[in-house]
């Protein structure tokens, strides 16, 4: 590929800028963004480096098909070493930034080093410059976008950090345009540590697939397949927040810091309410997306009039709403807007706030942390104040919570670690894993911490025929479409891992490969082949996905991770979910051990350590990685 496939390197310490091609061999092995990015990160970082030091790098990776008419392929994966977990991190984001980058002639941007003073990067096709950021440093994300747009016009796509990233809050997000976030893992803090405020991109070039007509026709077929899915209408109609109702009804809607799984007032904060209340003004798509799950909502009257939000998503509603005991849609919009402007991850922000609320109510939060605001469940004004305090790292509670819930709870102690809903240092996303064992396993082995974007095995619920068929395809029997069974969970999780990795690499949104699987290995292989001019079979592509997952695990192994880290938050393993009627809802250590044993065995990893064996790595073509891990005494 000549066009749209280069790597743009920017070394901020020296100002050096250079461009490399992506070798075909890297596509053969790792398929695209997330995979090639993981390989670059593995090769470029030494183990043990400080994620917030100049040795860390940030890789912005557009999907291999991003910027084209393949449906729902607007995704960018951002890869770095996370200050929250100390492991490899990838965060996927939509919008149109990635498409612009591809049309400017690059698939990857690697930012290295650390600028001496605040800067931003301007990419306009071949012209790449490092600019002084004195006019935007200190500004919030929206003001930053406004300022850049006034100066350079509307044709540039913007990724920036807000005050939270500048202040290196470990729950700071990267914000793409006004509302889209590569939220998790504190990558916003990594960008802040580099004194890098923004990267703006204008793509005036073009992309040419290797086999244009074939590629085009396959893209049209895929578009039709995605639109034919029963979930397509739901995503458009009520967005991700449309699932608040059904998830609540299933007693799996986390509220009050995961103390409960059902909210009596859940209907007040659902996507249906958002739509019918008049708050929803428009539906938004990422580049080439035919689902349009994103919302644009605005409050016209009342005490919060003038508030607008690019959501809220299901996760935001659960985290900043139900999780904090706030059942007021307008208040959630206000909190969402604050997070967008300050550049904070809404999942983690809600998580740390509700942890503080529980800690306060249990009487173990010291007075020095509650001087300016008392964190009480249900107090929306407290939520707003704490969001600001975190972003600005205000002395006391704000500075404490900006460290993320793991460090905050370790500092407070007194048992508060038990209700810190995190593992590996990352706050869990808003999924109840105590009554769904594929989810429990997927969350425990997720290299970035407990959340749904490593593998989302919703098919195990068997709610629709498509889901049951998927489980049958994976396990050979429809009966395994049952989330309360322990058997076959390893198979289900590994299959989803493989597919998700490929989905990310090519730039597809996971909504096209979740549950009904309209986009799948069988149609991704030919379209990738037509794009690159390299033959992929579905089997080869699946192996790419596997290789990516194993490589990511190896990165963490090199950092000292092992089986001991594959855990769930304490609460999920030690406190039963009370709201679920009938049956025990808890992932005990015994159950998790069984799931992990099966999973490691299936992968061909060492069962006692959870570390891939040399043979497994050799078989996957990762001998260079195996050699290094051997020399470090890890294998």
């Amino acid at each position: 590929m000549e066009i749209g496939a280069r790597i743009l390197n920017i070394e901020l310490s020296t100002g050096k800028i250079w461009v490399e091609d992506v070798a075909d061999d890297l596509y053969r092995k790792f398929a695209g963004s997330r995979g090639i990015g993981a390989y670059i990160l593995y090769k470029n970082l030494k183990p043990g480096i400080n994620p917030l030091g100049p040795e860390n790098i940030i890789i912005f990776a557009s999907g291999t098909l991003t910027g084209t008419m393949a449906p729902c392929t607007g995704r960018v994966t951002v890869i770095s070493k996370s200050p929250a977990t100390g492991g490899i991190f990838k965060s996927s984001v939509g919008g149109a930034w990635g498409a612009s980058l591809k049309q400017a002639g690059y698939q990857f941007v690697i930012v290295r080093g650390q600028a001496k003073h605040p800067v931003f990067i301007k990419i306009e096709d071949k012209q790449v410059t490092i600019e002084d950021a004195k006019d935007i440093w200190g500004k919030d994300v929206w003001e930053t976008n406004d300022t850049l747009e006034r100066k350079y016009g509307k044709d540039f796509e913007v990724v920036s950090i807000g005050p939270a990233g500048e202040n290196k809050a470990k729950i700071a997000a990267l914000m793409f345009s006004y509302y889209n976030a590569a939220a998790r893992g504190g990558i916003g803090a990594v960008m802040g540590s580099k004194n890098l405020k923004a990267i703006i991109v204008k793509g005036g070039g073009f992309i040419k697939p290797a086999e244009p007509e074939k590629y085009y026709n396959l893209a049209v077929e895929m578009r039709k397949a995605v639109l034919s899915s029963p979930s397509a209408k739901r995503y458009y109609d009520t967005g991700t927040s449309g699932s608040v109702g059904p998830v609540n009804a299933a007693r799996a809607f986390p509220s009050y810091n995961f103390q409960r799984g059902y909210s009596e007032q859940g209907d007040k904060i659902s996507g249906v309410t958002l739509r019918d209340s008049g708050l929803l003004k428009a539906r938004r798509s990422c580049y080439s997306c035919v689902l349009a799950c994103h919302r644009y909502a605005a409050i016209d009257k009342g005490q919060y009039a003038g508030t607008v939000a690019g959501g809220p998503e299901y996760e935001t509603i659960s985290s900043l709403g139900a999780g904090c005991g706030v059942y007021n849609m307008e208040a959630i919009l206000v909190a969402d807007q604050l997070c967008s402007r300050y550049g904070l991850d809404t999942i983690s922000t809600g998580s740390v706030i509700q942890w503080a609320m529980e800690t306060y109510e249990k009487g173990v939060l010291l007075d020095i942390y509650t001087k300016s605001v008392k964190p009480k469940f249900g107090d929306q004004e407290a939520v707003f104040k704490i969001i600001k305090a975190i972003a600005l790292r205000e002395e006391g509670l704000g500075d404490l919570l900006a460290e993320g819930v793991k460090i905050a709870s370790e500092r407070i102690g007194n048992g508060s670690e038990k209700w810190a809903i995190q593992a590996k240092g990352m706050e869990q996303s808003r999924v109840e894993v105590r009554s769904a064992f594929s989810y429990a396993l997927a969350f425990a082995v997720n290299f970035r911490g407990p959340d749904h974007l490593h593998a989302q095995p919703i098919a195990e619920f068997g709610m629709r025929e498509g889901q049951i068929a998927t489980i049958e395809k994976i396990t050979g029997d429809r009966k395994y479409a049952n989330p309360y069974m322990l058997e076959k969970r390893a198979e289900i999780v590994r299959w989803h891992e493989d597919v998700y990795a490929v989905t990310d690499c090519l730039g597809f949104c996971t909504f096209t490969t979740t549950s009904e699987y309209e986009v799948n290995l069988e149609n991704m292989a030919p379209i990738l082949s037509a794009y690159l001019g390299i033959d992929f079979t579905p089997e080869m592509l699946k192996e790419c996905g596997r290789r990516v997952v194993v490589l990511e695990r190896c990165f963490n192994v090199r950092e000292g991770f092992s089986r001991k880290d594959d855990v769930l938050p304490w609460r999920a393993m030690n406190e039963e979910l009370l709201d679920r009627p009938g049956g025990e809802a808890i992932v005990t250590k015994e159950k998790l051990d069984y799931l992990l044993d099966e999973y490691y065995k299936l992968h061909g990893w060492d069962q006692s350590t959870g570390i891939p064996t040399k043979v497994t790595l050799d078989n996957l073509g990762l001998s260079d990685v195996a050699e290094e891990l051997c020399s470090l005494g890890k294998l």
Partner: protein, 155 residues
């Protein structure tokens, strides 16, 4: 014949840009597309911008070499490259900002010969093909996109 636009439906996916540039040039890129989505991300407004095949075309009036003409049968406005001198006066005259330039010649939507790819690819139906006999009769005044966004958001 012209392509009608429903601002309120458009979700800003830009699929039309990708398919348009490909059908017309064999390459994929916004800068080659005959249709451009004017995006106001902050306000969640997306305005598809393309030639409306005006009944009283400003571009034809502006062209000094008569290189632009309106097909009688279909009403489609086309550019004859052999007559075009690349002066860009048509670009400045267009009330919609719907004419692009490819380093030599201006280019604009010619409705893919009557079977427009953008309309087929618009999943939400924000673009609609009007028949041969239909003529775009709305204002031919220069569009001020900022005002239009405010109007849509009722500000």
């Amino acid at each position: 014949m012209y392509i009608d636009v429903d601002y309120l439906k458009c979700t800003g996916c830009q699929m039309c840009e990708a398919v348009c540039s490909f059908k017309n040039t064999g390459l994929i890129g916004k800068s080659l597309s005959r249709i451009i989505i004017h995006k106001d991300e902050k306000k969640g407004v997306f305005i598809p911008t393309l030639c409306r095949q005006c009944s009283e075309p400003k571009c034809i009036q502006a062209c000094p070499t008569n290189a632009i003409f309106k097909e009688k049968e279909t009403g489609i406005i086309k550019i004859n490259k052999e007559e075009c001198i690349g002066c860009r006066q048509c670009i400045d005259s267009c009330p919609f900002g719907a004419i692009g330039f490819d380093s030599e010649y201006p280019f604009k939507c010619e409705i893919c010969g009557g079977d427009p790819e953008c309309v087929k690819s618009c999943f939400i139906g924000a673009l609609k093909l009007k028949k041969n006999t239909d003529v775009f009769t709305e204002s031919h005044k220069k569009i001020d996109y900022e005002s239009l966004v405010k109007e849509i958001r009722q500000e």
